[in-house]
Amino acid sequence: MQTPLNPSATRVGLAQKLGPLLGLGIIVVVLSIISRDFLSFTNIFNVLRQISINALLAFGMTFVILTGGIDLSVGSILALSGAFSAGMLAGGMDPFLAVLTGVAAGTLMGAANGVLVTKGKVAPFIATLATMTVYRGLTLVYTEGRPIAFNNDVFAMLGKGYFLEIPIPVLWMLGSFLILYFVLKNMTFGRHVYAIGGNEEAAMLSGIRTHRVKIGVYAISGFFSSLAGIILTSRLSSAQPTAGTTYELDAIAAVVLGGTSLAGGRGWITGTLIGAMIIGVLDNGLNLMNVSSFYQQVVKGGVILLAVLLDRSQKS
């Protein structure tokens, strides 16, 4: 006898996938009616460029959240690795090596988070809350509390340049998205991530090196945080000691808006990209409408709540 497929189960899956896209669509339609400028070519690329930093943070965050963890330290890693790169450039280092230094530092900081979570058995929230403060403190120490300015045309391209009329940060974002999409869908590492988030004990008993995978996941988050830090530093032509403060919240919001479960094991990176777009489009649209930045925060928070509540009501 054939066990009938639970029809509600598939619908939830589909709704989870279509929900964020639908939400984005509604916001875009509404904003394009209200503001004529919104759908212009320049504005679209403008929005994409603005979301690239949050999207990169959120991509790494997606991996961490899929294993059932969280990474609060992304904003601080962004600042510290950006400061390292800027410091190297100001000292006359080759821009390529400066970028490499920043990225390596960020990846190591992420891996350290992973070691705390696995070997140290510290809850991810606490571990990354602590390192968020530590990394921020180190940024202040390194920069002595002042912006680090530099002058380098090659480095400036990374954040400000265009390639075939497309802003380079947008290329970073789309390139990273494609790679990570492939990793999650087709690589054993991605499968291990989902398995650990879904049932860590079962994953361990199936021969998966759970600690190794989790350290890897935090390292990925650190890597993309430092990439975001380099783009931000390039765009501002200087490293700011307070750069990236509270960015972790927007990154988590993008992941959650995209339909990835904070409990782990369930989610997709396309959703995160859409989630980041929702946040970016909202910011941009409210700006075009001259809504005060105070009210913008209220609207953004409201949208997040609404999305999560809708998601709940579908599941129950």
Partner: protein, 503 residues
């Protein structure tokens, strides 16, 4: 004869249409220690939960001091003088002994909420002295040994004027010395007229401390005996009951070469000096009571835990297994006991669950070969006739039997030489059970070495070519298929012919 403290008669209980207790009776006299025995799932804890007000009975009567009572909730049970001492203690470790004793009813000045510490200390000392134990009331409970914590719990029950005390496996976590002092307390409570229900699998304790024994089997009342008029053999027969029909398709074949050998496997506090071997084509049963160390042994062999001592040999070669990955590579598969906690990743699909321990073989350079994965999954689904709406169905939505087949399938796909099955038919319906039995028989004939861990005695006897029995972390008996009987296995599982250490 003294008038009974407690009489339960004709107790019925159903859970969603399944009868778990039918016409069960139990009685308790003042100053009596009455053992309640039966195999796992016989209905002991359901009966006690009815007495404790946790479950509501569907029929029957409960009389306390001769008066019929309805025990609607645990609070009501408490006010009727019924107290439960569970295996997991209900104390707050960060608070002191006296705070725990009088939790929620502290001595205060008037209604001020200002605690009268001297009074608390004095009253605590009184209750602890009544038990004849010397514990400082201002110590934190978390600093006490398990035995001492149990005393605190008993003292709390007495201070609540408990007359009926239910002791559920009270010695499970105690050392021998602590057991001795617990028994002294039980004897002194007996003189004070407290009636005690004593739940335990340990025969020697039951004969050492109890007055009467009631046996349940499959939710039914089997009988009550006084300790003087019965013996271990009779109790085991009462617990095990009916003769087994031949529901098991096992037809032993001549075993081949040795596939798995374990020597002196030890992990302190869990298992001690476990040695055995299994040959190709053999099904070896591993029996024992809950907590005897069977699953722990399997986890040590599989590398999910590290042994303190001992070695594992696969096909004659000594292997070093540091993690499950190594075990899988050496051809060992472990179908775990609890499919939801250990076996399956519930949010993933049938395909993804089946491929999980096989990803290394299904990928090259870290990239999963989609077509290979799908054909592996399809193959297992067909081989085990898993009923699903397709490979992409979430395993969460499968029935219990089909979930279990997915767990077995994911391990068979690793083409193991040694298959460890831990409670493979628990919570599985009869049809799926028989399929699993037939599969086991076929796999053994094809040359696999199988270790079957099960609490279902008829299953162990019906399917195994040889039966090993564990008791408290050690091997305590080995029987051939011909020798093994339920009585022998149960006796070995309860500690064998150990002479009674207790007075």
């Amino acid at each position: 004869m003294t008038a009974p403290l407690l009489e339960m008669e004709g107790i019925q209980k159903e859970f969603s249409g399944v009868r778990v207790l039918s016409d069960v009776r139990f009685s308790l006299r003042p100053g009596e220690v009455h053992a309640l025995m039966g195999e796992n799932g016989a209905g002991k804890s359901t009966l006690m939960k009815i007495l404790g007000g946790v479950y509501e009975k569907d029929g029957g009567t409960v009389r306390i001091h001769g008066e019929e009572r309805e025990i609607a909730n645990p609070r009501r049970a408490g006010s009727l003088g019924i107290a439960m001492i569970h295996q997991e203690l209900n104390l707050i470790p960060h608070l002191t002994v006296m705070e725990n004793l009088f939790l929620g009813r502290e001595f205060v000045y008037g209604r001020s909420g200002w605690i009268r510490w001297e009074r608390m200390r004095k009253e605590s000392r009184n209750w602890l002295e009544r038990l004849g134990v010397d514990i400082d009331p201002s110590r934190k409970v978390g600093e006490l040994s398990v035995g001492q914590q149990q005393m605190v719990e008993i003292a709390r029950a007495l201070s609540l004027e408990a007359k009926i005390l239910v002791l559920d496996e009270p010695t499970a976590a105690l050392t021998n010395r602590e057991i001795d002092s617990l028994f002294e307390v039980i004897r002194s409570l007996r003189k004070q007229g407290v009636g005690m229900v004593y739940i335990s699998h340990r025969m020697e304790e039951i004969f050492g401390i109890c007055d009467r024994i009631t046996v349940l089997r499959d939710g039914e009342y089997v009988g009550t005996r006084s300790v003087e008029e019965t013996d271990m053999d009779e109790l085991v027969r009462m617990m095990v009951g009916r003769e087994v029909q031949n529901r098991y398709p096992r037809q032993p074949v001549a075993p081949g070469e040795e596939r798995l050998r374990v020597e002196g496997l030890t992990r302190r506090g869990e298992v001690e000096d476990i040695s055995f071997s299994i040959r190709a084509g053999e099904i070896v049963g591993l029996a024992g009571l809950m907590g005897a160390g069977r699953t722990e042994t399997a986890r040590l062999i599989f590398g999910a835990r590290q042994p303190d001592r001992g070695s594992v040999w696969v096909s004659g070669a000594k292997v070093r297994i540091r993690r499950p990955e190594d075990a899988i590579r050496h051809g060992i598969a472990f179908v775990t006991e609890n499919r939801k906690d250990e076996g399956l990743v519930l949010p993933l699909s049938v395909r993804e669950n089946l491929s999980l321990p096989n990803l290394a073989a299904l990928s090259s350079k870290g990239i999963i070969r989609g077509r290979k994965e799908e054909s592996l999954a399809r193959q297992q689904v067909e081989r085990l006739s898993v009923k699903s709406a397709g490979l992409e169905q979430e395993v969460k939505t499968l029935s219990g039997g089909n979930q279990q087949k997915v767990v077995i399938g994911k391990w068979l796909a690793t083409s193991p030489q040694v298959l460890i099955l831990d409670e493979p038919t628990r919570g599985v319906d009869i049809g799926a059970k028989e399929e699993i039995y037939r599969l086991m028989d076929r796999l053994a004939r094809e040359g696999m070495a199988i270790l079957l861990i099960s609490s279902d005695l008829p299953e162990v006897l019906g399917m195994s070519d040889r039966v090993l029995v564990m008791h408290e972390g050690r091997l305590n008996g080995e029987f051939t298929r011909e020798e093994a009987t339920q009585e022998k296995v149960m006796t070995a599982a309860s500690g064998g012919e150990v002479t009674c250490r207790l007075p």
